[in-house]
Amino acid sequence: MRQNFIKVQQQDFNLEAEYRALCLDNQQDGAVVFFVGLVRDFNQGAEVKSLFLEHYSGMTEKCLESIVVQARDKWQLGRVRVLHRVGQLELGEQIVFVGVSSPHRKNAFEACEFIMDYLKTQAPFWKKELSPEGETWLEAKQSDHNEADKWGA
């Protein structure tokens, strides 16, 4: 079982399969923390029907890999899985999965949060909202940068 699994893909992911991949034949890690991000309809006003997610293929994978390496430098982690979808996603669909296993609960929580904070501010993804009124590129949020900064980059 690979310790890091990072994937950018169009197709959906299965939470149960991801969970199994984190736990299977893993006798060391008593704590597993996941984050799942979903398409919701309140992003920046308007009635969002779907999202289009673009990314910089090549750089994205490198960037996610580097974020996971940084997390491993900070915390004792077992397995880390990061999946991010691209392309058109409808309301309610899964966008991103981050799963972390660790012998220590706090390490799993902090690493999972750290990976999400860095992914949000560093990984080259861009979201366009598709609503009845048209298409709108999402603006980056300052609050996301504040969250990322708190880890003391």
Binding site: G37, L53, H55, M59, Q122, F125, W126, K128, E139, A140
Partner: protein, 86 residues
Amino acid sequence: MIKILFFGQLREVLQTEILQLDINELGKLPVNVAELRVFLQAKSELWQEYLCSSRSLVAVNQTMASETNLIADDDEVALFPPVTGG
């Protein structure tokens, strides 16, 4: 040649996905990110507006770059708005 890629809103607004540029066109060498911006911004008012450092980030060879990062021949440069994944 330098390969320059555009992503997200930048790609749409500038109607440019990729640009090949002879590094010698940039005039003085070595050249850094800030100087490449100035060169590209000269194209039109739209480019002027959208390529300022407050509206676009730069990666060189798929790594985030600062304004003083030098650019060499054959580098892959990318220009894009602040990221909004996750």
